[in-house]
């Protein structure tokens, strides 16, 4: 299991477009993917779940990956967060 904290850096936050991209990326991997915010955990492969977090700029989230390809999944998704979902 891999767990990492990330901060939302882009201005518009984790809105619909990034949320749907996160789901798209996560779905490529077998590993389970959870996003945790303030103790509330959602399935990162569900766009509705991701939207429910309503994470704005500055929010700190915990990403949890669990499964055979967890390393690859973690690498790509964390990168996507760090790049501000390509909106910086």
């Amino acid at each position: 299991m891999i767990e990492r904290n990330v901060t939302i850096v882009n201005k518009a936050g984790m809105h619909t477009r990034p949320a749907s991209n996160i789901v798209k990326i996560a779905s490529k991997y077998k590993a389970d993917f959870y996003i945790i915010k303030n103790g509330y955990s959602i399935n990162g492969k569900s766009i509705i779940g991701v939207m429910t977090l309503a994470a704005e700029q500055g929010s700190v989230l915990t990403l949890r990956f669990e499964g055979e390809d967890e390393e690859k999944a973690a690498k790509e998704i964390i990168k996507f967060f760090e790049e501000g979902f390509g909106e910086l």
């Binding site: 518009a12 936050g13 984790m14 809105h15 619909t16 477009r17 749907s20 789901v23 399935n43 492969k45 569900s46 766009i47 509705i48 779940g49 939207m51 429910t52 977090l53 309503a54 704005e56 700029q57």
Partner: protein, 585 residues
């Protein structure tokens, strides 16, 4: 329960009387109160399959809307559809909903709504404005799914032979109902020209609209009489009331039977002027009646219902089949097919709706913008025209450019068919609806380009007077006897006569006996009326003298107020009468 007789008043929108049980329809999704008692669930599995159908139907709709909107909307707005689609593709969310339906034995409707509510609450509580705004997308998606969920439920639930009671019916709702044998419709909202009224009249069922709050005062345990002449609904009538209404129904049937004697007689005035009388048509189930009883032309076939039933533009093949069915049944009489007259409000999602849909993207404007869709319809019509009894009519024409462009498209469609060696009527006639004042002002030029005019009085009144007929605040100003409207019609007739093309009226005005007298006098050569009014209007035509109708019309054209016109016409009718409308002018 209070079982004593109670009368609710509204506006009579479609004639007729029925006695029967109500079907109370609550369609407005946001306020829909769902019974969550487990008893109403037939089985969790059937709830789940309803849910799956509703979701896949919603996906289908959204994809189509996306296609349609692609060219019209900015990139930023398109993302809304993509987002909504991705919501609908969320399998994790769906399995959560399905799991809860199974484990809690609740309706799909309730569970879905609760789960979406969680999402909405989270989004609304965000500190970020942009994220908060996403709630509109979620709302739109939610309503779409809920609507489809209800629709599926509705079709299986509407009891035949019942009187539908509703807050309001959208055109799509009404069409849904039209496939059932209904006894009548009563709604809280709506006006005499609202869609529900028009459809009720074409289905020959009584309708009463603008009843304020009937939808909350009737339950499925009640028993009703709906009186579409007086515009009332009687809840739990006394036996005496029922008896007297039964007698009235019998009397009306007798009058109808008398009218039927007119079926075989020509449509001409006392002094031998023949007035062409044809009928408007929307639904297939009216075709047989029209053919066997009237044997007349179809002066207006509306194609919008094909779109609304599907929530999408039908394929060329489906349209071809439909038009061919009509043309073959009506043969040797002709059918005038009006190309899609859809409002942008039927296509665009909630968040993109125009503030003034009647002044917005509708009718020919959509068709010309969506060339492929238009070509599909034109090809379908052309293919069905091989028998030579189809005409094309264009709605919402406001100027010459639209006609020119349509002719380019039509030529392109013809060329495509020629290349494939498909037979069609090379000389198919094309006419335009005259319903926008600018078209009236350009009528002389337009008449040189087309084969016929048909005046759509409903829109012409609305656009001439700048009155929204669905707005309860101003609908009283919606007045077909407004002198300006009558002069618009006169101008149109003059231009048509000058250029030797026929001019018909296919709006509601043609179906009104008072107004049709005027129209004949103004020189309208053809009246296309709703089938329920066909014999009434024929009776009127046979009772009047053309010479006198002309006198009435020219006198009216000198008048400058609505009241003058109305009083004078009423007086003309009353003077010569024993019984009301027993006209002999």
């Amino acid at each position: 329960m209070n079982r004593s007789e109670q009368i609710f008043k509204g506006i009579a929108a479609s004639k007729g009387i029925s006695i029967g049980k109500p079907f109370v329809y609550r369609a407005e999704v946001p306020s829909y109160k769902v019974d969550i008692s487990p008893a109403v669930i037939i089985s969790a599995e059937s709830e789940i399959s309803d849910y799956e159908n509703a979701v896949s139907q919603s996906v289908k709709e959204l994809k189509k809307i996306f296609e349609l909107a692609k060219e019209k909307l900015e990139e930023k707005n398109l993302q809304i559809f993509e987002a909504q689609l991705s919501f609908l593709y969320d399998e994790f969310f769906h399995s959560k909903v399905k799991d809860r339906i199974r484990s809690e034995n609740k309706q799909a409707f309730t569970v879905f709504k609760e789960e979406i509510q969680i999402l909405e609450n989270a989004v609304v509580s965000s500190n970020d404005e942009y994220i908060r705004e996403r709630v509109n997308d979620i709302e739109d998606m939610k309503n779409r799914v809920l609507r489809n969920l209800l629709k599926g439920r509705l079709v299986s639930k509407i009891t035949e032979n019942s009187i539908v009671i509703a807050r309001n019916l959208t055109p799509a709702d009404t069409i849904l109902f039209s496939n059932r044998n209904l006894l009548g419709i009563a709604t809280d909202l709506g006006g005499i020209n609202s869609h529900v009224a028009l459809i009720s009249r074409s289905l020959r069922i009584p309708a009463v609209v603008a009843m304020q709050d009937i939808s909350v005062n009737i339950t499925s345990d009640d028993f009703l009489i709906i009186d579409g002449y007086k515009g009332i609904v009687i809840k739990n009538p006394e036996n005496d009331t029922i008896e007297s209404y039964k007698k009235l129904i019998e009397k009306n049937l007798e009058f109808e039977r008398k009218l039927e004697e007119l079926e075989k007689l020509p449509s001409e005035t006392k002094d031998g002027k023949s007035v062409k009388l044809s009928t408007n048509l929307e639904f297939n189930n009216e075709v047989d009646y029209v053919v066997t009883h009237f044997g007349c032309d179809v002066g207006l076939y509306r194609t919008e219902h094909l779109f609304m039933e599907l929530g999408d533009f039908p394929s060329e093949e489906d349209q071809y089949k439909q038009y061919k069915f009509l043309a073959e049944h009506i043969y040797p009489k002709t059918v005038t097919i009006r190309t899609f007259d859809i409002g942008g409000d039927k296509i665009l999602p909630e968040s993109q709706k125009e503030l003034n849909p009647f002044l917005g993207w509708r009718g020919i404007r959509i068709c010309l913008d969506k060339k492929e869709t238009f070509l599909v319809q034109l090809r379908a019509i052309l293919r069905a025209s091989a028998g030579g009894n189809i005409k094309i009519m264009l709605p919402m024409i406001s100027g010459i450019e639209e006609i020119k462009k349509t002719f380019e498209y039509l030529e392109e469609a013809k060329q495509q068919l020629r290349q494939q060696n498909v037979r069609f009527d090379e000389n198919i006639q094309v006419g335009v609806m005259i319903e926008i004042p600018s078209a009236v002002l350009l009528a002389d030029e337009i008449a040189k380009m087309v084969d016929f005019f048909s005046i759509g009085t409903n829109d012409l009144v609305q656009y001439t007077l700048a009155v929204d007929r669905d707005s309860s605040l101003v609908c009283e100003m919606y007045e077909k006897f407004h002198p300006a409207v009558l002069r618009m019609i006169e101008m149109t007739v003059k231009a048509a006569n000058k250029n030797n093309i026929p001019v018909s009226v296919c709006g509601e005005m043609a179906s009104d006996q008072y107004a049709s007298l005027l129209l004949i006098g103004l020189g309208i050569t053809e009246l296309s009326v709703v089938s329920t009014a066909y014999l009434h209007i024929k009776r009127l035509i046979r009772l009047i003298k053309f010479e006198n109708a002309q006198k009435v019309a020219s006198k009216v054209l000198t008048m400058s107020t609505i009241n003058e016109v109305k009083d004078y016409i009423e007086d003309c009718f009353n003077k010569n009468i024993g019984e009301k409308l027993n006209v002999s002018i």
